[in-house]
Amino acid sequence: MTTPAAPLHITSPPAGSGRQAHWLALAGNPNSGKTTLFNALTGLRQKVGNYAGVTVEKKVGRMFNLHGQEVQVLDLPGTYSLSVRSPDEKVARDVLLGTVSDTPRPELIVCVADANNLERSLYLTSQILDLNLPVILVLNMMDLAKAAGVEIDIKNLESLLGVPIIPVVASKEVGLIPLKQAITRELEKPPARTWTLPVEIESEVQALALEFEKAHSMDNATAFANALAALSEDEHTIHENFPKSVHSTIVNAQAKLEATGLDWRDAMVESRYTWIQSICAQVVKQGDPNAVTMSEKIDHVLTHKVWGWITFLGMMSLMFFTIFTVAIYPMQWIEALFGALQSFAGNHLPVGVVRDLICSGVISGVGSVVIFLPQILILFFFIGLLEDTGYMARAAFLMDRLMNRVGLHGKSFIPLLCSFACAIPGVMAARTIENPKDRLVTIMIAPLMSCSARLPVYTIMIATMFPTDAVSNWQKALIMLGMYLLGALVAFALAWLFKKTLMKGRTPVLIMELPPYRIPAIKTVSVHLWNRASTFIRRAGTVILALSIVLWVLMTYPKTPYATPSVALANSVAGKIGHAIEPVIAPLGFDWRIGIGLVGSFAAREIFVSTMGMVFNIEDADETSPPLKDAFNDARRVDGTPLFTPAVCISLMVFYVLAMQCVSTVAVVRRETNSWRWPIFQIFYMTGLAYIGSFIAFNAVRFFFGS
């Protein structure tokens, strides 16, 4: 090619001065509006995954600079400092230092600062400036700052920091063009660090930086930043945040600093703040400190001793009301759709194994999980709303004391509450918990909350217990409530136990910002919803499909020709498993028929009802159908005594409260914990718990009520 390419189509720009960024990272404090800016820049052109080896969300999007060239944008986890306190913050630090294997170091860092909170935001900004990478500082939420009377002299700040500064309102997409202009400009490194440490401390930090420089082939600026981060570590946190090979180097450096007799830890923070404060004094004019913001007025109500609880309960009730009323319609559509699919496939596929597999295995198996999608989506929507408005932090503020009793954090509350509708959004919402051990404990106990898939089982068993109308509805409701309470109480007891033993750790410290309330941007909430829903479908989909097929095979083969469905099921592998486990489940009051129900509902609890319908030869059984209830009441053991005594009904319900029978949850826990170890542990401990619980319940009811 001899003809010069048009400037617009330069794909590999010349090295040196003409270089532009094609790989940039957004960094900033939590609540700085970083993600809103990310969505505004990239729209729906984003991919959500995980960083290799950790369960920290990696969000990469595409945007175009003003030359029409594609730029990859990485939305780093929010962090207050490069001295890290959680896996999320560690990822942010490591990407900035360029030590993450699957993520190249950004060419440009767009640092997002809350204009209302400049002093604190500049702390992270100055740490990032230390790295000597090209930086653009974005001052977000300029509208709110203006309303609060905060004035920032941007020109002056630009000259003091030596980097481009772009004021924006990300939620209203104001200022994006100047930002894109700055991104399109050729890359330029910021001026060298001007803040300084006390001399003795500076020389020790430089000495450690030199070691890092040699060991990791880092440039001096990066090594210096790394040294500062390393020195701030504690004895018990150092192994979480730094590779073993440098532990002794770091500890030695700390010992040397200790020997100087100086308050070196404080100096590292204070020196930086002194520099920041001198800058802020020159460029920021604060608003009236006594002015009461809208957010503070709202908090007068929402965190009030009386009104706070009322609004909290109101909001949670609204969430559940919506799930159980609104979700019914799309659930009916999905049911109809899968029914139509099933009959379409049934009519168009040739009779045979493939048709049976597709109709009864794949379509009905996947359908039984997809049916919960509306609930899951509504929950995701509410969680997104709670997060984006800033209410989530208030909920944690209200509930912290309670959660603290079992060694958890206020932030565990919402994930657990969500699990009453469905454990999947609950488990995924646990991502907001910074401490990995707390997150794990929350995930481990979340499926014990009675989700909506257990309702059909409770409903049919309670109906079976009281076949006549002799018992009032409120007594039935009381039993139902008892099951919900049982799950919650066991969950809290286990949280306490896990924190004492398996996931031993001090009660996490609560240092939580209460961000100003915000009207959520529709784009942010919908992008959120889309990302979570597609993640669930993609990740859980394959596991659900595979298990649906396996279960179908178990319940279909070997075939018994010309037999009724109930005889065919009894002769199938599942039927044989039901028979085989009878001696094991007999102490719980269960016989082989209930055994088949348990096997059938291993993948999804509500399948129990349709499986039992097959066992008792009832077409289209659902939890409210009188034939199934009647069949249950007519069922007899070999010795002629009724099978479904109240003791058996209670025992069965207790089993469903405590057992982990949900492939979707298993798949999601696998994804969120990044290993098979935890979901497998969960299946075992919950099944064990269910067995013991049922055994106790069965015998207790028999002992006290004689049935």
């Binding site: 905060v150 908090d299 965190t303 503020f397 410290v509 240092i511």
Partner: protein, 78 residues
């Protein structure tokens, strides 16, 4: 006097931080430095944690951590 001993609505200035290690570091990084003016906004309905305001933003801390922050109450505080 420590931060948790102030009552809601009271203002003070931080005089010393007694927290240790990485918690001390994080509190300072968030701007809780000697000489910083601070206000206790409220206690959570169950008495713990507490909400404080400083440098124009709101933070919540448990009493346990607040007890490590020594303050001198502002004379003019009501």
């Amino acid at each position: 006097m420590t931060l948790n001993e102030l009552s809601a609505g009271q203002t003070a200035t931080i005089s010393k931080i007694n927290a240790a290690g990485s918690i001390r570091q994080r509190l300072m990084e968030l701007g809780l430095l000697r000489g910083t003016p601070i206000e206790v906004v409220r206690f959570a309905p169950m008495g713990d944690p507490i909400e404080i305001k400083f440098k124009g933003y709101h933070l919540s801390l448990r009493k346990e951590e607040a007890a490590t922050i020594e303050v001198s109450p502002s004379p003019s505080s009501n």
